[in-house]
């Protein structure tokens, strides 16, 4: 299996850990990636607010380069990129006008867009191409007893639910169960994390993120698994601000249902990329998976300490 690979800006910056864990995991599974030659910003959501057509041109440059590269499919791990690239495909398909403009622009770079390069998300590839069974084969240290809240975020299932259910996605659940994790029922799987608002308008932005953390805690999760660099950033990096704002709110004590305790101390629940968990199960070291980059240290219950798989 060989894919063109579109890292996107975040995976080179705040979301490095995602790339750091994705690449080795895919390597183990024998999935080859070829980073897109001279890829550019996908024209992400913030961009679209300024000029949707230019955003499309930006995105389609990448799509066109991918077509040139010749591998059938393009892998986009960042939810925002994944959405924008897919959205562009839809948009170009629906609006011949926009397509005309885009093609004209592409010609300036001796590129052209035919629309036959599917944009795929790692979750999709891992479950539907590699396959759960294949993944199980490579598990060295099943993360037994690790209680995970699976957080998908919005943009991989909405608005184009291509590979998973838009109300209750399950690909990550199945994936993580396969490596031994226990999934807690998490009703906020696809609720918005606040996106870029966390930076621009902390009040509403942080609240969105806080709700997600709090619910994961009350559901008794050890950690939250994400698929998106922005989600991870929002949930991971603003804890101090959240503690400041809502630290004194009380929740039912996860250990003893009748008692109530302030949420503050629990807010340091780790937020990791699903690929980091898979990596751990594959026996890769925390360092090479970039786990040290998380603000909250990854706490693993004793039973989830690396141990030989019951083969």
């Amino acid at each position: 299996m060989k894919y063109s690979y579109f890292p996107g800006c975040s995976l080179k910056g705040t979301g490095r850990a995602y790339e750091e864990s994705l690449l080795p995991v895919l390597k183990v599974l024998g999935v080859e990636l070829e980073e897109l030659d001279d890829w550019n910003c996908c024209g992400a959501t913030a961009y679209m607010a300024v000029d949707e057509v230019k955003a499309c041109v930006m995105a389609s440059r990448n799509l066109a380069i991918a077509e040139k590269a010749g591998h059938k499919e393009l892998l986009a791990p960042c939810s925002a990129c994944y959405l924008v690239l897919n959205k562009t495909k839809h948009y170009l398909h629906e609006s011949p006008v926009v397509e005309a403009v885009v093609q004209k622009a592409l010609r300036q770079a001796n590129l052209s867009y035919s629309g036959n390069t599917p944009v795929r998300h790692p979750l999709d590839v891992l479950v539907n191409n590699v396959g759960i069974e294949e993944i199980k084969k490579h598990v060295k240290h099943p993360l037994k007893g690790l209680k995970v809240a699976p957080y998908y975020g919005c943009q991989i299932v909405r608005p184009y639910a291509t590979f998973d259910d838009q109300y209750n996605p399950t690909t990550m659940d199945r994936l993580l169960e396969a490596i031994g994790c226990t999934m807690v029922t998490y009703p906020l799987k696809t609720r918005c994390c606040g996106g870029s608002l966390t930076g621009t308008l902390p009040e509403p932005g942080l609240l969105c993120s806080y709700i997600l953390l709090k619910e994961a805690i009350t559901r008794g999760a050890d950690l939250i698994a994400t698929v998106c660099p922005l989600c991870q950033f929002n949930l991971d990096c603003y804890r101090d601000k959240m503690v400041g704002r809502w630290g004194n709110e009380t929740i039912p004590d996860p250990r003893n249902k009748d008692a109530r305790v302030p949420v503050g101390p629990y807010l340091d629940i780790p937020v990791v990329f699903f690929t980091q968990l898979i990596g751990l199960a594959f026996g890769l070291s925390e360092k090479e998976l970039g786990l040290q980059r998380g603000f909250a240290p990854m706490r693993k219950p004793a039973c989830a300490q690396p141990q030989p798989a019951a083969a």
Binding site: C9, G13, D38, A46, R61, C154, L201
Partner: protein, 212 residues
Amino acid sequence: MELRRTIKYESDRVKGFGREVMRVPGCEQLEHCIQCGTCSGLCPLSIFMDHTPRQVMELTRSDFKNEVLQSTTIWLCASCYACTVECPKQIRITDIMYELKQRAIHEGFYPKRFPIPVLAQEFYKMSHKRGRVTENFLATVMFLKTNIPAALGMWRLGLNLLIRGRFPLKLEGIKRKDELVRMMAVVDKLSIDALNNDHQNGGHGGRHNGAH
């Protein structure tokens, strides 16, 4: 207490604004809005908005351009698409919000130092200039432009990121920047609206196969 007249006069409408928006590809369905409020009901951020998404839809449809473009709503939309997938009339609310954001920016319809449009534009500039975006620089620029105290408040975050190697110190960029410039130049030349109008008036645009 200070009283304000809330009445709207016909002269407050910018006639044709709604139509204009509904003509943009992806926004057509707005015509069918039945004001059920599903969008606001689902929107995680509606609780902070001055007009709920539903109200923005109605205000847009009935040409209250100023109210719409000045509302905080369009900026609070974090584009999670919850409204879009649930709308019983399949109105692409998120896309309409984008359209409105664009118009607000082009027509300078937002408060000075209001961070979101500034971020959007800085993002736009940076991705144009360099072809890629380096978030931490972007954020820094945004804060400096909007709210210096906040920027200072962010130093700890910056530091933490730095320690964890998540704060690149060099700006990312692509090799063939000239290529991008040429491409954008093309777009600037063609007025998409002009194309749209022609497209609307029976030009064989595909989606419209009305009788001629």
